[in-house]
Symmetry: C2
Subunit: 255 residues, 2 copies
């Protein structure tokens, strides 16, 4: 058997999330179907992050075991051919050893959330950013975000259906930055951790947006985190602003 790591880009809109489901379209299901056509038999793949319905990816990572010794360029071209017309593309392919596991070898997940504040409806990036109303204070969101960094019980920012064994996680980064956007402003949240709870990033963003809008104080983020209660969370942001932007490995197969 030969193992290949795949770097995958997708638009999450048409899918019920990454994970394969009976009778519902999923990103995993579409890729497995395409690999099945390439290989002539069913193949399962494992991914670093099981993104929710509507969440996009710039660089999801998965691995697959193939009987045939493929040239990596030809393998990604063949899978892409069979993925058409799905908005899913293999943008990287690398040979790895059996020691590599897309999910269990991952030491960092990186998410980017794109939030645009402007009055006019979004035209070119409809479905690719979460639109909110101006004005928003960058400084307030940055100050609020600081309270979330480090090792905490994140029960407040965890979906009630989260299946994680523990609500304790270490958040390594939550940078909020502002960028020019026609007729408004874009706020990007760069969020990194070894692993995340279900809905954690969208819960962070939804609460921080309330801080930016002035409905919450930055210090309220600390109080809400310490409440360790889901009811203390602000609104959860829409999925279509969220991107799985990268996965970190001790030994990056794509470098």
């Amino acid at each position: 058997m030969h193992r290949y790591a795949l770097k995958i880009e997708y638009n999450g809109a048409p899918y019920h999330g990454w994970q394969r489901q009976v009778d519902l379209p999923s990103v995993q299901g579409m890729i497995e179907q395409a690999i099945g056509k390439v290989a002539g038999s069913a193949h399962e793949i494992a991914a670093a992050g099981r993104t929710d319905a509507g969440v996009h990816a710039w660089a999801q990572v998965a691995h697959v075991d193939m009987e045939r010794d493929w040239d990596t360029f030809r393998l990604s071209e063949a899978i892409n051919y069979h993925l058409k017309p799905n908005p899913i593309a293999i943008i990287g392919c690398a040979k790895v050893t059996e020691a590599f596991h897309a999910r269990f070898s991952a030491v960092e997940r990186r998410y980017i959330f794109r939030m645009v504040s402007r009055r006019a409806p979004i035209v070119h990036e409809a479905g690719l950013v979460w639109q909110v109303k101006p004005p928003l204070s960058l400084e307030a969101m940055q100050e609020g975000a600081k309270h979330l960094l480090g090792y905490h019980d994140f029960t407040t920012f965890r979906s009630s259906i989260c299946q994680g064994l523990t609500p304790f996680k270490t958040l390594d980064r939550l940078d909020v930055s502002e960028h020019p956007y026609p007729g408004g402003a874009e706020f990007r949240f760069d969020v990194r951790a070894r692993s995340f709870l279900h809905n954690q990033v969208r819960s962070f963003v939804g609460t921080l947006e309330r801080v930016g809008a002035g409905h919450l104080e930055p210090s309220d983020v600390k109080r809400r985190l310490e409440a360790c209660a889901r009811s203390a969370c602000g609104p959860v942001s829409a999925p279509h602003g969220l991107y799985l932007a990268g996965v970190g490995y001790e030994d990056d197969p794509f470098e």
Copy 2:
């Protein structure tokens, strides 16, 4: 009467170009329809650039005369309300005098063409960039572009149905730059002139892509320009990579 300048963003995909046409959807037609609903009667608008079918805009400029003295913010909100669900948005609105004419006062049109070279299909920006195959030489395209700068007879790079009175134009800028793009590279063409011939930018880009791919030498651009014959033009690029990115006025109403 009160005159207003409008800054307009649109996705050109669903429309048969800017210009109003009987029985065919156009950007102008949609905006005039929305203004008609706001004002209660038919209004005509004039625009700086009559973009082709499928061409997008980041900042088209048009003007409209209204009977009522509108607050500019309320006027743009009202038009945007009636534009839904069209991918068209008013992103700026300014009061101007009757001396201002969106088309005749314009001293510069600025176009950006987005070309992405990568093997994998385009996912997130499908319809927003023109995809070509790698590899492309940035240097060759830059060298070829230089031959087009300045005052020339642009017959070679002008659609055979162009209605311009003369093929002579002055090209002020044609910068080609390279930007990172996942799984490939993006090449941006920043093109500026007082005015353009029909299909001029797309003819430039199509020919320069052939230069980048090595099928033409940079010096061939000069020879083809000097041929002053439409048949000397390379392939015309697809419209969906092209954006009307800005319009220059001596006295910018939006500043």
